[in-house]
């Protein structure tokens, strides 16, 4: 499983229901350690793609392997190795920060969950508020806690679904620093990969090593960021994303 060089290999993957094609023969390959930014207009299938790759949805046809696990055959095995950061916190607001993390850690079967949770609370700088219920947290604090929750089982691949939505500039700054920290932190031991959907083009571009544009469920552009001229990409982006708005 660790031998495969690519984090995500998708071939002619479609998501069809009735006459509606959410994804239409999507193919791409993402190496381990990469950061993929997915762009596209509303309804292009970005969230569907992310939900399929993170085992929350099943593809209709085509083949898809994530971290060497077949998405159709063995979604359960993969779940141990992926984390998901969404614009929704995926937390219980009436439980405390610590309880939420402990709950997740125990479900994943993390050894010595208390210690792991303390570590993570320190990383996201919420140690002082660990016993407070999440309902009392600001949006930025909740988002930091949801990062900790996504990392509790030390995933190799992290999905980010619009992580910036609803964050104020200060929180965005902290989030960026945190993201940078988790990218560097374990990149020496192993290659942690990221896959992000965002409406923020600049953020998506800055972080990415690979770029993907979806349009009506089809991949219209997929490449390494270094291979693409930035101004070319911006033009492409505005044409494609602007189309969905009009």
């Amino acid at each position: 499983m660790m031998t495969t060089a690519s984090a995500i290999t998708v071939q002619k993957m479609s998501k069809v229901f009735g006459q509606r094609k959410a994804l239409d023969k999507v193919s791409f390959e993402l190496p381990q350690g990469a950061f993929l930014s997915i762009f596209g207009p509303n309804g292009a299938g970005k969230t569907t793609l992310l939900r399929i790759l993170s085992t929350l949805m099943r593809p209709s046809s085509g083949s898809a392997e994530v971290l060497g696990f077949d998405l159709k055959e063995k979604p359960g095995g993969l779940r141990n190795h992926i984390g998901f950061i969404s614009h929704k916190p995926l937390l219980y607001l009436d439980l405390s920060a610590e309880e939420n993390l402990l709950f997740a850690a125990r479900l994943y079967g993390v050894e010595e969950p208390e210690q792991r949770v303390s570590e993570l609370l320190a990383v996201v700088e919420l140690t002082a508020r660990r016993h407070d219920s999440v309902r009392t947290f600001s949006r930025g604090m909740t988002q930091r806690l949801s990062i900790a929750r996504a990392l509790v089982h030390d995933p190799q691949l992290v999905f980010l679904d619009e992580p910036y939505s609803g964050l104020d500039p200060h929180a965005v700054h902290i989030f960026d620093e945190l993201l940078q920290k988790i990218r560097e932190q374990e990149s020496l031991e192993r290659q942690r990969s990221f896959c992000m959907v965002s409406h923020d083009m600049d953020k998506g571009l800055d972080l990415a090593t690979h770029l993907l544009i979806l349009e009506k469920g089809k991949v219209v552009l997929f490449d390494q960021k270094d291979e693409i001229d930035r101004s070319d990409f911006v033009r492409h982006y505005h044409r494609s994303v602007g189309m969905g708005v009009a």
């Binding site: 479900l107 792991r116 089982h153």
Partner: protein
């Protein structure tokens, strides 16, 4: 660096159930709403029965009335039991964990069952106080506890499956009632019969009471088994 161990299904069940109970005892959201609602329904029953005089009638009616109370109260609680799972995507967080998803059903069923039993423990004495205090009790009365238990398990089971469905629909509260009441009708029918027989006592007791209780148990077994088998589809959709 942390390492992971394999978590057994029973372990998952305990963690999920622990989370539900911890959350409930902290907020007392379901218990307080269901508790107050019980009082309100009892008041309505009081108005409805105000003009009746004969005590015999109330003995025969009380089984049915009590089950009406349970059904309406449980609807309220079942709706809440998934609202907070959906609200901030917490359920999605659980679905991302490698676990047998029918465990979510079993843990939620248990949590709902326990909360309903607590509410019933409050409702029963109040019901007796308001409506049956002047009536001489039959020695068979304790037998009413068996259908109560069986009925509550069935309500929690069917209700948990349906609440998982209706949480993703428009007009969820209303829809749960629409789906739930016809489905639990047979269970109610059996439970009301057995409960009433236990309260009224008499010759009818042995055969008819056992029939009602056995059928209620049969309903529970079939419906919970089917719900458990179908739950993965529902919660993953």
């Amino acid at each position: 660096m942390s390492t992971k161990k394999r978590v057994s299904t029973f372990e998952h069940y305990k963690i999920l159930l622990g989370k539900d109970l911890r959350r409930e005892f902290r907020t007392r959201e379901m218990l307080s709403t269901m508790g107050i609602y019980t009082l309100l329904v009892l008041v309505i029953f009081g108005i409805a029965l105000m003009q009746t005089s004969a005590k015999i009638d109330i003995v025969q009616m009380s089984g049915g009335l009590f089950w009406a109370l349970i059904v309406f109260t449980s609807l309220l609680g079942l709706n809440r039991s998934f609202a907070y799972e959906k609200e901030d995507g917490a359920l999605e967080g659980v679905l991302l964990v490698p676990l047998d998803r029918s465990v979510i059903f079993l843990s939620k069923l248990t949590a709902n069952f326990l909360l309903l039993i607590i509410v019933e423990a409050i409702a029963i004495p109040l019901f007796f106080l308001f409506f049956l205090s002047g009536v001489e009790m039959q020695p068979s009365l304790p037998l009413a506890l068996a259908p109560l238990l069986v009925g509550t398990i069935g309500i929690a089971g069917v209700g948990t499956l349906l609440a998982t469905i209706t949480i993703n629909t428009r007009g969820k509260d209303m829809l749960l009632a629409l789906l739930f009441i016809p489905l639990v009708f047979p269970l109610l029918y059996a439970c009301v019969s057995a409960t009433t027989l236990a309260i009224t006592g008499g010759d009818m007791l042995t055969g008819a009471y056992t029939a009602g209780l056995t059928l209620a148990i049969g309903y529970d077994v079939v419906m919970i088994l089917v719900s458990w088998l179908l739950y993965d589809f529902v919660v993953s959709a």
